[in-house]
Amino acid sequence: MMMRSCRRYSTGVEALIKTPLYSLHVEHGATLVPYAGFAMPVLYKGQSHIESHNWTRSKVGIFDVSHMLQHRVKGNSAAEFLQKITPSDLKALEPFTSTLSVLLNDQGGVIDDCIITKHDENEFYIVTNAGCRDKDTAFIKEEISQFGNASHENFEGTLLAIQGPQAAETLQKFTKLDLTKLYFGNSAFAKLEGFTNDAIHIARSGYTGEDGFELSIPVDHEGLEFTKALLELEQIKPIGLAARDSLRLEAGMCLYGHELNEQTTPVESSLNWLIAKSRRTPETAGFNGSDRILSQIQNPKSVSFKRVGIQSKGPSPREGNKIYSYEEPDKQIGVVCSGSPSPTLGGNVGQAFIHKPHQKSGTKILIEIRNKKREAHVAKLPFVAPKFYKPE
C-alpha cells in the first residue's frame, strides 16, 4: 500500500517555521507535518482523527492557526481599496463585525478567501490563508499602490481557534468581556485575565460549524502560557489539521485550492452571498472582475457549473475524482473538490463542481473512484447544521 501521508510527513520538519505554540505541540505528542512552510500538528497522541473530530463537536477543541496571515489595512482610502479587491460592502459593515470575503483577480477568480473585520471606518483587520501568504502580500502590495491614502502591514503572533459547544463557558473564565453579548461575526478587544497585559482581539467565529472564537494574541509568551492553561482543562483537547478538514467539510465550508481557485468565480463556488447586494450594479460594483461576476449573477443560466454537496456510501470521493451522469455513464459532468468519510453522519460527504442540469439535491450521479464508477447523489450544504451563536 502507498503510505503517502506518513512518508511525505516524515522528513524536513526541522527546516520549517515554528508557530509560538510549537513546544506545546511537541509536548502533546503531535504528528507534525509541513504545511505551507510551517510545522503544523495533524494529530495528537492519544486521539485518533475521528475521536478528535467528535471531541470538537461535543466539548472544546483548540486549533493552532498561527500559520494564517494577519493583516492590518488603515487609512482614509482603506475601505475604498478593500472594495476594489473584494465584493464586500465594507462601508456598510458595522464596526467590530466580520465578514467572509474573497480577494478577486481581474477575471473575477479567487486569489484567496479571507475574514475581514472592521475596527473603524478607516481600519480593518484581515486574516488570509497560510498557503497563499506570498501571493496575497504581492497582490495586496500591487493593488494598494494605486491608493494614496491606504497602508497595509502584516503581523504575526498566536492565532488560536477555540471551537465546540463548551467554548463560550470555557473562555468566559478568562475574560471580563460578556460573551453572551458577543454574537457570531462580532469581535472585541479584551484582556485574558492573568495572561495578557493588553487587550487582545477576540472574534466569535470559526471553521468547524460549532460555536467558537478566534483569538489573536500578539505577544508570543502570552499566547503560549494561555494555551497551556487551556490545555490543563479537562474539556479541552488540542486538535490538528486532520479533524480541522473533516469538520469544515461537514460544515460545508470552502477550503482554498479545493472549492476556490483563481479560475473560478465566487458565483461558481456558490458563494453569491459574498457579493454585497449593494454592489450589484455597474455603478456600485467596481471590484476586480465585476463585469463577469455581475453578468453571472444576472444570468444564472450562463453559469455552467457550480459547487454542490455530494454524499455517498462505500469508498470516499476524494479531490480530483471525476463525476459522471447517472443516466449516461460515459458523460463527465463534474469533478470532486474535497471529500471524506463523515464522522458525524456516517457515509461520505464532499463538495464538487457539477454542471447543469445535475445540480439539484437528490440527483443521482456516478463518481469514478479507483477505476470504478460508484453511485452517489447531490446533497444540500451544509451537511451538519451550524451552531453559531446568534441573537434570538
Binding site: M1, M2, M3, R4, S5, C6, R7, S10, V42, L43, S48, H49, I50, H53, A242, D245, S246, G314, P315, S316, R318, S340, P341, P343, R370
Partner: protein
Amino acid sequence: MLAPLRIAVRPMRPVAAALGSRILRFNSTVAQANSLNPSAVPFKFSDSVTVRYTREHEWLASHPDGTAFVGITKYAADALGDATFVEVPEVGDSVQVGDSIGSVESVKSASEIYTPVDGEILEANDELTSNPALINSDPLGEGWIAKLKVTDPDQLLDAELFDIDAYVKFLQEES
C-alpha cells in the same frame, strides 16, 4: 489474560545486540506487533506458515499448498488511523505482482493495497466491509484482506520481500 505469543520473533543477531538494549527492546516490540496473530486463520491455515513483508507494508502469509493471505502491517494500520472503509477484491480475479487488490480508507486518505505475488483471488474478507475497524484492531489476523492461490511459488523467494527482521530494520531506516 496473557497475550498469546506471536511467531517469528527470532533471536537478535549479534550486530543488533551491539546497538544496545533500547534498540533491542524497540526491535522486539515492533517485530511482535507486526507478526501474525496465531489464533486467526492466516496463521492457522496450515501448520507451516511463511510470512513475508513488502516495502509498501503489506504482509503475505503463505502455506505449503500454495494458498496465501494478504493484509497490511500493524505499522501501516497505525499510520493510517481509524479505518473507515475497506475495499476487498473480487473472488476469481487474476492478479499480478503490484496490482491493486483493494484499498483501506481513513478519514484523511485512501491507500491502495497491492498484491506481492501473482495469483487468483480465492476469497475476500467480507467481514471488513461491515467492520473496517478490524484493520486497526487485528491487522495481522482477523483483518486479513485477501486469500489467494499463488501461481508462481518462486516469487515467494524474491529478495524484495522481507522477513520480519528485515522488515523491522526497514521500518527503522524509514523513520
